[in-house]
Amino acid sequence: MGLQEYDIEVERDGLDTEEMTLNMGPQHPSTHGVLRFVVKADGEVMRKATPDVGYLHRSIEKIAEKVGYHGFMPYTDRVDYVAAMFCNQSWAMACERLAAIEVPVRGEYCRVVAAELNRISSHLLSAASMTLDIGAATPFFHAFREREKINDLLEELCGARLTYNYMRIGGVAWDLPPGFVEQTRAFLDDFEPALAEFHDLISGNKIYVERIAGVAPTSAARAVAYNLVGPNLRASGVDFDVRRDIPYSIYPQLKFAVPVGRGEVGTIGDCFDRYIVRMREIEQSVSLVRQCLEQMEPGPVLAKVPRKFRPPVGEVYVRVESARGDMGWYVVSDGSEFPVRCKIRTGSFAAMSMIEELSRGLMLADLVAVIASLDIVAPEVDR
């Protein structure tokens, strides 16, 4: 694949040694999706791990130019299928901002409920995969048990467990089904002790903490320069959350805290901070869903949007706080039914670009921890 670097001879103590070039992926149990790393290792210690992406490139951005605004909504799920609601929401928001469409209030509440439930399930998957990569299989299954319940709830809501296609330009496709509010409340009541149990099991475990504390710390300046977003950025100490600082939807009416990494074990911005920031965000999302369910009033959920959607000429850059961070959608319209350009800038792309630098001097086992803590999913990187 164009990486014309050969094993370099290293002279040390009069012995001729060689660096080992290892290939990690594209099929590997612990790369999150189809990712490939070319690792130059000196025994267990890595000199450099160069990522090689593009295995999951599906040219989604070009497809947007062909299928039009309405037709693109199911494709947005596949941009990040672990947290698909946010992709739906950001595409809908971009089109609404272009055409100045106002979403009914109940529609916004439905969006936030669905999105925050999706955030919980995405963070559960991320934390669980991280513990599985570190070697503990039990928290993985416990987290997925809870995630199954969220999948069931969202299946009640929109019929799908992973690629939801729930939102439409102008609102959401369907209102909450009867009984959904009670079921969600029952789930949230049941979920909080499960989360406490998860923490009991793994978050304080000495072996786990030793594995990830102090590994690959990222300073705030470097995180900003490399365009890290979301929990990765907050773990490095930068207190920024799109929901609070560039508010959209009905987030201004909801109360929530934004967890920021403090370096409580190890250095600020290390893998443990990234992990614990996500776990704390789950608690915040639970509270957000509860607030939404209380504040919702009956009403329409979908604004009237013409079938042939022709927004005026213009361009917008919409930012949404996805599970993986601030997802930016740059949509350019020329007045026709098909967008001129739809560029999706995702958090995992920047995180992936940082791995080469973070991996210098780490051990092979740490590379796995770093990839898992940065919460990289392959579809976001390649689109």
Partner: protein
């Protein structure tokens, strides 16, 4: 075994053959019986036990289809592995690749020559029994290195080298933590070690003095590391090295590596039982030889198998350590503690040449208190989860 053969020779059997041949033949036969009736069964069944226990820890069910409650799952797995295609990578070193599983198997099966099953059932009662076990298990290192190298796969190589470094390093705390037991008993003979303990907990070496107590934990940790079990399962770390040194193996060769891993758990349990938990000692309840042998066998087996259960339990709970952390735990913590332990035991023996019953009773009390504390925590968690289970949220797919 030897005694039994002697009695047969005295009765007139095998008069034409020299004594050594009779001994060798008898022991080989006994070894074959043990291998096929005991080792394969136990190692195979342990795979099933591990999967069920692991599944319950993960709050799922585990294999329960093949046979009642899935007890024949291991047979099905074994049969499947037997029928798999025998793949050898084209660029692999064929001789070493083929030999490696057998070397590992040898290192494991040979330990059964000295492991006692009851007071009368042991293949060879060697005076250096414990030393023999330690020595022979080192063969496994050679096999792992061979497997890692011969696979012609960089990931296997890393797994093999990690495995070799780990096992060789942890032999030292394992050996050192056996020293207190040997010093207390004055012998390396496994049967003798057991005879010197009694059936009651206060007669066990575990509670004889605080240093033996510490030695028990040291030995168990070091033995887990030798057996490549979590938290020390780096050589086969699935999420990092695909399958470590067994990546390229399939079919029967793969089966042998994993038979060794699970069988090793039983060997660890047997060693722990022999050295610390009183072995097959039973209270004098019966005079019948058959019943005595049966009870002793069952006592020993269940004591040893309990530690298999504990090893599976630990695997379901703890994550994996990193290579440098593994080495630092061994060399910076276990080895110094084991040294201090051994010296302190020697001083203890000088102070109390015939043991100290008071200390034994106190230690037993402490042990019982720890067990009671543990069970109270279990009860607390069970109560809490039963409350949760009653209010558990489930969504029926047909609602």
């Amino acid at each position: 075994m030897q005694g039994y053969l002697d009695s047969l020779i005295a009765a007139g059997w095998f008069s034409a053959l020299p004594v050594q041949v009779v001994y060798a033949g008898g022991m080989l036969l006994a070894g074959a019986v043990v291998l096929f009736v005991f080792i394969l069964l136990v190692a195979g069944f342990t795979t099933f036990v591990e999967r069920r226990i692991w599944a319950r820890i993960h709050s799922r069910v585990g294999p329960n289809r093949v046979g009642p409650q899935g007890v024949l799952q291991w047979l099905a797995d074994g049969l499947k592995l037997f029928m798999k295609e025998d793949l050898i990578p084209a660029a692999a070193d064929r001789k070493l690749f083929r030999m490696a599983p057998y070397v590992v198997l040898m290192g494991f099966v040979a330990t059964f020559a000295v492991i006692p099953f009851s007071s009368r059932l042991v293949i060879a009662e060697m005076d250096i029994g414990l030393l023999f076990v330690l020595t022979v298990t080192s063969l496994v290192v050679v096999g792992i290195l061979m497997a890692g190298w011969a696979s012609n796969n960089k990931w296997s190589l890393i797994g093999g080298i990690r495995g070799a470094a780990q096992i060789v390093s942890y032999e030292i705390p394992a050996g050192l933590s056996i020293l207190p037991v040997v010093l207390l008993a004055g012998t390396l003979n496994m049967q003798e070690l057991i005879r010197q303990q009694g059936w009651a907990p206060w007669d066990w070496t575990l509670f004889a003095n605080p240093f033996a107590f510490v030695a028990f934990f040291l030995f168990f940790t070091a033995a887990l590391a030798e057996g490549n079990r979590t938290p020390f399962d780096l050589p086969e770390a699935e999420t990092e090295l695909v399958a470590g040194f067994v990546t390229e193996y399939s079919g029967v060769r793969y089966l042998m590596f994993f038979l060794v891993e699970w069988g090793n758990l039983y060997v660890i349990g047997a060693l722990v039982t022999t050295m610390f938990l009183g072995g097959w000692n039973i209270p004098p309840v019966t005079d019948s030889v058959f019943l005595q042998t049966l009870l002793e066998f069952l006592t020993f087996f269940f004591k040893a198998y309990f530690w298999v259960f504990v090893a599976i339990w630990i695997r379901g709970t703890l994550p994996r350590v990193r290579v440098d952390q593994l080495m630092s735990v061994c060399w910076k913590y276990l080895v110094p503690i084991a040294f201090v332990n051994a010296i302190a035991t020697a001083l203890w023996i000088i102070a109390f040449p015939h043991g100290n019953r008071v200390v034994a009773f106190v230690m037993t009390g402490i042990g019982a208190a720890l067990v009671a504390l543990f069970f109270s925590r279990v009860a607390f968690h069970l109560r809490r989860s039963r409350v949760r289970a009653r209010n558990q949220f489930t969504l029926s797919p047909f609602a």
